[in-house]
């Protein structure tokens, strides 16, 4: 599903150049649930941004579902993001003046789906994350865990090939974190490919594979025994 070869990325700040990714080689098969771990500054977020086409690598190859992702202009990047990827952010990034249902329907709007069908689909995903009753609530009327679940529903609404989650539990307490992870595991069980960036060991161990990043290179890539989130709650 995801194929990365010799990926390099540096940031330039004035005269200083910061080499963040120093040759990453990395493959993800369909249906995998992968945790990308590493201390801050290890380049894990940069890697996720490149995977999410929010940022571009300096060199190296990136294939998403066998499609080469390179030389993207804004237009194509936007279309690919909409079609292939679903994002889950640490700070949820819901649109504050839209209710839960409209937030979930947003990616569908950009797919050019009509309003009625959009609402039905969005409702379906909201119910899937257990928030059907909260459809008309604004984000600030929801708890952190609920917000993240709305965000997950939104990420899934466009039926992407891959879900990318950047510290999805970073802003949540342990109990809510586990609830969110349970949801993510459930989605993965249905066959969706999911990548999670995290620095929490327990969260990482709820995935099926842990990739460790340090100073821009992968130092460790192991399959792990998945801990079901329900067991911890």
């Amino acid at each position: 599903m995801i194929e990365i070869k010799d990926l390099h990325k540096s940031y330039h700040m004035g005269s200083n150049s910061l080499h963040v990714l120093k040759g990453i080689n990395f493959n993800v098969k369909e249906g995998e649930l992968v945790a990308i771990m590493g201390s801050s500054g290890s380049g894990k977020s940069t890697l996720l941004n490149i995977l999410g086409m929010l940022d571009e690598a300096d060199s190296g190859a990136y294939f998403l579902d066998a499609i080469p992702i390179k030389n993207l202009n804004e237009k194509i990047a936007a279309r690919y993001r909409n079609k292939f990827l679903g994002f889950i952010f640490q700070s949820f990034n819901l649109i504050t003046y839209k209710n839960a249902l409209d937030n979930v329907a947003m990616p569908l709007y950009y797919q050019g789906i009509k309003r009625k069908e959009r609402s039905e689909k969005a409702m379906h995903y909201l119910e899937k994350v257990g928030l059907g009753d909260w459809a008309t609530h604004l984000p600030n009327e929801l708890s952190g865990g609920q917000k993240q679940r709305v965000a997950i529903a939104r990420a899934m609404a466009s039926e992407p090939k891959v879900l990318l989650a950047d510290e999805p539990t970073g802003a949540l307490d342990t109990k809510t974190s586990y609830e969110v992870m349970e949801l993510i595991q459930g989605i993965n069980d249905e066959g969706k490919t999911i990548l999670i960036v995290t620095h929490e060991d327990d969260i990482a161990h709820m995935t099926k594979r842990v990739v460790n990043l340090k100073d821009g290179v992968i130092i460790d890539d192991t399959l792990v025994e998945q801990v079901r989130a329900t067991a911890n709650v």
């Binding site: 941004n49 279309r79 993001r81 994002f87 990034n93 409209d102 709007y109 939104r154």
Partner: protein
């Protein structure tokens, strides 16, 4: 433009951001409102001043005599002199090319006019047929003096509406009746009305030749009046009229032995020159109003631009989210501009309507000589609305464009 989904999206945004929308709208609406009021008052002043000139043909020239004021060729100052039929004929011959209508005038002040038992004190003026057009008299009944009357020295009279009401009973048609003017019988052949009001209608017109003969004026005339042929523009008309006045006064001064430096002896009222002064003043006033109006619009545009900048800044994160969810840059720009144009259009029209309503309501209540019927050319007002909308769109475009180009990660980082 007619993408229903886009409209729904925009109405959503507007509904959820009422204050922001209201403030944007307010600055636009007030700008247009003020402009409409200013232009309306400007137009009102123009109307008022134009009306002041309406009762006489606005390119008329009047000439009369006064005692001389400068000693010349052994003649003392303070000498009276009279213009004559000869002067009238000669001026016409010399300036035929300029003249549209002409008439000399013989005036008999305080003549007593009577019909049966009624009588009154009026002014008799001996004039030529053209005088009707110089004074803009409207015939209510009958006819004005014609060339035949002048040649035959016919004892006929054209009376003002007021005189008709004074002398004749309501049910009597004055046409064909004989009235006595200073005990000489004249036949009434016409009744006129004058926009100048009753004062202007207290005159009785008789043929110039008849007046001179009947009232013992010989060849003398009291004054001359002319209107000049229309010119293609105002400046030429003013220049021509000045040329005509100069030629005429220099002739009269030579003929009647008056010092060239004597400014008093010959009185000239060139209404065109007066009009020019008023028109210049009016132009200045209008220009000033326009200037203030344009400044108001500029202030409005700056206001709209400011608000657009703030809106875009405020929505940076939202834009980042939308882009991460697959929004095209074009759709981001479109969304912001669409909203801006929609809001300015509605607000602009609201301001326009309020301004026009106020003018409509207050306009008729303002009654001074210098402001009348203040109104605005609807097209001008509408054009300004469009300019404002366009300016708002341009002002909104650059921030929107920049926002659409921000990388989503940068926008999302923005807390």
């Amino acid at each position: 433009m007619f993408d229903i989904e886009r409209w729904q999206e925009i109405f959503d945004t507007i509904r959820k951001n009422k204050l922001r929308t209201f403030l944007t709208g307010l600055s636009v609406a007030s700008g247009i409102f003020i402009l409409v009021i200013l232009l309306g008052v400007g137009q009102g002043m123009q109307n008022g001043i134009s009306q002041e000139f309406e009762d006489d043909a606005s390119n008329s020239i009047w000439v009369w005599t006064r005692p001389t004021s400068v000693e010349y060729k052994g003649l003392n100052p303070g000498r009276f002199f009279n213009m004559t039929n000869e002067d009238y004929g000669f001026i016409y011959k010399k300036n035929e090319e300029f003249i549209e209508y002409q008439s000399s005038r013989v005036r008999i002040w305080n003549a007593i006019a009577s019909f049966e038992k009624e009588s009154g004190n009026y002014r008799i003026e001996g004039v030529f047929p053209d005088f009707q057009f110089i004074e803009n008299e409207t015939m209510v009944a009958g006819r004005f003096i014609n060339q035949q009357d002048v040649i035959e020295k016919g004892k006929i009279a054209i009376i003002g509406n007021k005189i008709k009401n004074d002398l004749f009973k309501k049910d009597i048609d004055p046409i064909g009746k004989y009235i006595r003017l200073n005990d000489i019988t004249f036949k009434v052949v016409g009744v006129y009305s004058d926009k100048g009001g009753e004062r202007e209608e207290e005159r009785i017109f008789v043929p110039s030749t008849a007046a001179q003969q009947v009232f013992n004026r010989g060849q003398n005339i009291n004054n001359l009046s002319y209107t000049l042929k229309p010119e293609k523009d105002f400046q030429t008309a003013v220049a021509k009229s000045e040329e005509f006045v100069a030629s005429m006064t220099s002739y009269l001064k030579t003929k009647h032995i008056i010092a060239p430096s004597d400014e008093r002896a010959i009185g000239v009222n060139n209404s065109l020159e007066q009009a020019k002064r008023f028109y210049d003043l009016m132009f200045m006033i209008k220009a000033f109003f326009w200037w203030v109006g344009v400044c108001t619009i500029i202030a409005g545009v700056v206001g709209v631009s400011n608000i657009m900048l703030i809106i875009v800044k405020e929505r940076t994160k939202e834009i980042g989210i939308r882009k991460a969810l697959g929004a095209l840059p074009v759709s981001i720009i479109g969304m912001i501009l669409h909203e801006a144009i929609f809001v300015t259009a509605i607000a602009g029209c609201t301001g326009l309507i309020f301004g026009l309503l106020l003018l409509e309501m207050l306009g008729p209540m303002i009654e001074t000589d210098f402001i009348s019927n203040p109104s605005v050319n609807f097209n001008v007002a509408l054009t300004t609305v469009f300019i404002l909308i366009f300016a708002g769109a341009v002002a909104g475009f650059f921030p929107a464009w920049r926002a659409a180009r921000i990388k989503p990660i940068v926008a999302l980082r923005d807390e």
